[in-house]
């Protein structure tokens, strides 16, 4: 395995080297860096051209410039990185760090969401192949996949930002809006859950009634402006999640796993009560991260204690439940601060920027500010990636579901859950790993348009500005980051492949 990894790294390094050479020459030949000066009529035009030629070293041979760039990059291994300066005299290393942080912030949540939602949708559509649900998801997937990003962004800004902000100023649904929302929700859920006609009708009616009542209650409580979730909410939702996770991973017949999951939820809520004063009064990212790690450790511990004959499975169940419970606690804290956030920022969803300039507010308000700023680009990136992920998962899942061993498993009398989760899904995951890894690498460099329309300056802007000015330093820095990311992700995919597919380990 080690030998395999080393060989991969060596090959990748060579590929990167060749690609960087190509990139460098393409960039410096992509235009005329003195273009604007050539058209200028400044009396000191010649001086300015000489000055810029010296800055960009236009008179030196390209090989020499490339070699100097390469040795600057080589310095990164000895601790003195030098990626050069831009045409504006700004240090590229610093710029790259800022851009990379900004891009990572932008895409991390979107990628994780896209993977989870995409794979889930893919599995569901594969199980319900050729159902109404399958067709609608297929239709939406193709729709989103082919959406021009800038256009979708404009629509999102109009409806999810401008119109929403106008609405939240009052925060009440009109009765007919409630009815429409409830009808749509009822229709969607019956399509997903499926069953006989009677069962579908029942599902739709129940959902319709539930949503209508909830929304009217929210209206009455002015919930959208003063929302609350509360300990009770955390408890109920986390418990439901715990049951669901158990059902999926271990099956409800495994009572130990079920009790372990429920114990985790209860412990989580009790811990929340204990830590609430700390979280409200002196919150920080460090504290949150620490508590999260603690929560996961304790959850896994609970799983191990309850585990019995299926300890591993039980630990997985409690681990996931613990993460969900933690997220619920986090959500509860955010929801509790929504009203005060609205007080500071009356139009919560912004169309541009990664943060509100000079935002004043406590820690939780700042978290909310970052969340509302990142919301629209995240939705957009997620929609686009979900399309690919769900399609790949669906076809890969369908392929495995039609294999002989799945039929064998079914004929053995295994439950449908076991057939799908244990036998089909695991094998379906193997090709998806590659796609997901590549997608992540592509997103780092590929969010150019999203960045531009939402006013984020990330890797995309670095690349674009550099190329427009025929300025190799930022373009090469962009290449370095995206290239290394692509190679690393590829490597990770290969390792994950090996972990998932025992045949490869040989």
């Amino acid at each position: 395995m080690l030998k395999f990894i080393l060989r991969r790294i060596g090959a990748s390094a060579l590929v990167l080297l060749g690609a960087s050479l190509l990139m460098f020459f393409l960039t410096i030949n992509s235009g005329d860096p003195l273009k604007d000066l050539r058209e200028s009529n400044d009396p000191n035009r010649e001086q300015l051209m000489a000055q810029r030629s010296e800055l960009l070293r236009l008179d030196d041979s390209p090989w020499e410039r490339y070699w100097d760039w390469l040795s600057g990059v080589g310095g990164c291994f000895t601790g003195n990185c030098d990626l050069g300066v831009t045409i504006n005299g700004v240090d590229v290393l610093g710029l790259t760090q800022q851009a990379a942080v900004s891009t990572l912030r932008l895409i991390t949540v979107a990628t994780v969401l896209a993977i989870i939602v995409g794979i889930a949708l893919g599995i569901l559509t594969a199980i319900r192949q050729y159902s109404g649900f399958d067709y609608s998801i297929t239709f939406s997937a193709f729709l989103f996949f082919s959406l021009p990003v800038f256009w979708a962004a404009t629509l999102l800004k109009e409806f999810a930002a401008i119109q929403y902000n106008n609405w939240i100023a009052d925060g009440h649904y009109a009765p007919w809006t409630i009815v429409i929302v409830a009808v749509v929700a009822g229709f969607l859920l019956q399509a997903v859950l499926g069953g006989t006609r009677k069962r579908r009708m029942l599902t739709a009616a129940a959902v319709f009634a539930f949503v209508t009542v909830i929304l009217f209650v929210f209206n009455a409580l002015d919930w959208w402006r003063n929302p609350m979730f509360g300990i009770g909410g955390v408890l109920v939702v986390s418990a439901a999640a715990g049951v669901l996770v158990t059902a999926l991973v271990a099956g409800l017949r495994n009572r130990r796993a079920l009790y372990a999951a429920l114990t985790t939820v209860v412990v989580g809520v009790v811990a929340y009560l204990a830590f609430a004063p700390l979280l409200v009064n002196s919150p920080s990212w460090g504290l949150l991260a620490g508590l999260f790690v603690l929560a996961v450790l304790v959850s896994v511990g609970i799983g191990a204690a309850w585990g019995g004959y299926a300890r591993k499975q039980s630990m997985l169940v409690t681990g996931i439940t613990g993460v969900i419970t933690s997220l619920m606690v986090f959500a509860d804290l955010l929801i509790a601060h929504w009203a005060s956030f609205l007080g500071v920022k009356s139009r919560p969803i912004s169309t541009i920027g990664s943060q509100t300039p000079n935002f004043t507010g406590g820690f939780w308000e700042q978290v909310l500010d970052m969340a509302t700023q990142i919301l629209l680009p995240t939705i957009l990136l997620t929609l686009v990636s979900v399309a690919t992920h769900s399609r790949y998962t669906r076809s890969s899942m369908l392929e495995t579901l039609n294999q002989d061993y799945v039929r064998t498993a079914r004929s053995k009398g295994l439950s449908e859950r076991e057939v799908i989760v244990k036998h089909a899904f695991r094998n379906a995951l193997i090709p998806i790993t590659t796609i997901v890894a590549f997608d992540f690498a592509a997103l780092i460099g590929g969010a150019v348009i999203t960045e531009q329309v939402f006013g984020w300056k990330g890797m995309g802007a670095l690349f674009q500005d550099g190329l427009n000015a025929v300025d190799p330093a930022p373009v090469m820095a962009f290449f370095l980051v995206t290239g290394v990311a692509a190679v690393l992700m590829n490597l990770l995919a290969d390792i994950a492949y090996a972990a998932l597919d025992p045949r490869i380990r040989r």
Binding site: D36, E39, Q51, L95, T154, G353, P357, N358, K457
Partner: protein
């Protein structure tokens, strides 16, 4: 800050400048709607900033868009010089003059006054306001302006420049031009004098915009390890030991890594705004706050935030309140339509700005080079009015056909200049007359005329289309020869008959000499005319405005009679602001809508 004639391509990209139009209703709307007249009170009294009486700084924040990152305190290096950077630094540096809403020169008397005490030889005396001081308390004095001169006069070898062509010691965008005109430098009694005189070696028509703001000499002196007095002496004696250190700091010490607000100790300000501590987030925004040490009229609103946003995201950001003032680059009909749909919450103003589009003939080669009749035939068939009506008026309804080159339709002296220099003979297409001239020039049916411009440019493509549909009837065969590298290749090589591009007007009086005189650096077509050459010489060598006006008429008339080229229109511009803001005012100058930003106030 001196505004220079930008290159054509840059001008198109950065046409951040809009028309002075005191009583303009928004595009396509004949009835001035309510809430759309905010600019009128500020615009009513001439092109310069309105006197708004006593102003106290109100708490609050105004958010305005600029399209690129802030680069640094020293905006005068070739690396940092840009309209985007100046948008910020113009707020933090006071200066002797600024450009008014129609591009005319206005004096800032809060900062100081200046006058020519002798016209020939030209001597200009500057007097700083007695209260004028940097935000760290040090008075603004002669020393600052001596350093400003040194940065534009001293060569690498430690001499004052001879003809401006040597390698300069300081990395200044203007090179050694000032030293070339004023080799002695400003003269004063003492380093801390408030009054000083520039003796010009030869008369310079644009003396009014030669000296503007300055950088703090006391900071440079301290960084060079000397006192301000010693720095002054060092400049006067050309002491290179000190000057090299000073230049090193001047060139590098004021550069910033994005996000790092310049240290107030080395970056004191002299304008109504100052940097806000921690107010710069890389790639996102930079916030300025009112300079509480400012002696003049204070800023109306405490905080001014520049958000770095691309043009296509600006309109929705304005609608959502993420921005309060926008000036989208290269506005189209869509821009105006979208802005109008926002209703009363937003005030829209359109205008024409100082960038103007024109067709220039190639005098070096081709059918137009030595045949006035051929040029006349072409001029008679170009549908100028149609081009303006179809392409420009939908954006800026007040747009008109432009009949001059050195004055703009929205400027005071336009009517006077045009009425004396041009009789309107090319105002309307006259195909019959064009055919006569075509025959008289001895041209044959199907004569190819390549119209070159920098691609891609949809508007210019539409212009060429309009010209083609008209001129092909005369016998020309118009060829759209757009190329991405038009300025690099086709224009210098002369591979065109007619060039279509735009100049950005500079506010300078004599800069046209470069374009129209026989030896001009930007006379791409190789035009040569004795009358024009002489008129430019006369114009450039006097400071007398009456002579300027008189010579401009001679030049314009001769350029029309010999048909140097055909002016088409001034580029349209659009600004939009939240209707809750007062005193946002459009301008034709390149400084853009921000030019009077210290007057912007939230309606109470």
């Amino acid at each position: 800050m001196k505004i220079r004639r930008l290159s054509a391509a840059v001008a198109v990209a950065a046409s951040g400048a809009l028309l002075f139009s005191a009583c303009t209703s928004p595009a396509g709307n004949d009835d001035p709607a309510e809430g759309e007249s905010t600019a009128t009170s500020a615009a009513a009294d001439g092109p310069c900033k309105a006197d708004l009486g006593d102003i106290t700084t109100a708490d609050g924040e105004v958010k305005v868009s600029v399209e690129d990152e802030f680069l640094g305190y020293n905006t005068n290096t070739p690396e940092t010089y840009s309209t985007y950077n100046s948008a910020v630094t113009d707020r933090i540096f006071g200066g002797f003059y600024y450009f008014g809403a129609d591009g005319s020169i206005c004096a800032d008397e809060d900062y100081g006054t200046y006058e020519a005490i002798s016209e020939d030889p030209l001597q200009v005396q500057y007097t700083l306001n007695d209260e004028a001081a940097w935000s760290d308390g040090t008075p603004i004095t002669y020393a600052d302006y001596l350093l400003d001169w040194a940065a534009q006069a001293i060569t690498e070898d430690g001499k004052v420049t001879d003809d401006g062509s040597e390698t300069p010691l300081f990395n200044h965008i203007s090179g050694l031009t000032l030293g070339d005109y004023v080799p002695e430098g400003p003269q004063a009694d003492a380093p801390d004098a408030k009054s000083f005189t520039y003796d010009y070696e030869r008369v310079y028509a644009d003396w009014k915009i030669q000296i503007g703001s300055a950088f703090p000499a006391h900071v440079v002196a301290e960084e060079a390890g000397v006192s301000t007095e010693e720095l002054v002496t060092a400049i006067q004696d050309l002491d290179m030991d000190v000057l090299k250190k000073a230049a090193k700091f001047w060139n590098e010490g004021w550069l910033s890594q994005p996000g790092e607000v310049p240290d107030p100790a080395i970056a004191p300000v002299s304008g109504p705004y100052d940097f806000k501590a921690d107010g710069w987030e890389a790639g996102q925004y930079i916030t300025l706050e009112a300079n509480d040490k400012y002696w003049g009229t204070p800023a109306a609103t405490k905080e001014l935030t520049f958000r770095f946003v691309a043009a296509d995201a600006q309109i929705q950001a304005l609608a959502n309140g993420d921005l309060d003032v926008i000036q989208p680059n290269g506005p189209t009909v869509d821009t105006v339509t979208q802005l109008e749909q926002l209703g009363d919450a937003v005030t829209v103003d359109t205008n024409q700005n100082l960038t103007w589009e024109h067709l220039d003939f190639n005098f070096n080669s081709g059918i137009f080079s030595d045949s006035l009749e051929a040029r006349e035939a072409f001029a008679l068939c170009v549908p100028r009015q149609k081009i303006v009506d179809d392409l420009i008026k939908p954006i800026a309804p007040e747009a008109v056909m432009m009949n001059a080159r050195e004055v703009f339709p929205f400027q005071e002296n336009y009517e006077a200049t045009v009425s004396e220099s041009y009789d309107g003979r090319y105002d309307e297409v006259d195909l019959e007359a064009a055919k006569e001239k075509f025959a008289a020039a001895g041209l044959k049916e199907g004569e190819k005329v390549r119209i070159g411009y920098a691609a891609p440019n949809p508007r210019r493509a539409a212009e060429v289309e309009a010209i083609k549909s008209s001129c092909d009837q005369v016998g020309f065969e118009i060829v759209d020869s757009a190329a991405p590298d038009f300025f690099d290749k086709d224009l210098p090589n002369g591979d065109y008959e007619v060039a279509l591009f735009a100049w950005a007007g500079s506010g300078q009086i004599a800069s046209g000499e470069n374009i129209y005189s026989s030896t001009g650096q930007q006379n791409y077509g190789g035009y040569s005319d004795k009358t024009v050459d002489e008129a430019w010489k006369t114009l450039a060598s006097t400071t007398d405005e009456a002579v300027h006006a008189e010579q401009t008429v001679i030049i314009e008339k001769q350029l029309w009679d010999t048909l140097f080229g055909i002016p088409l229109f001034a580029h349209p511009g659009v600004i939009a602001s939240s209707s809750s803001l007062e005193n946002v005012r459009n301008t034709a100058a390149q400084s853009g809508v921000l030019w009077n930003s210290e007057q912007w106030a939230r309606a109470s």
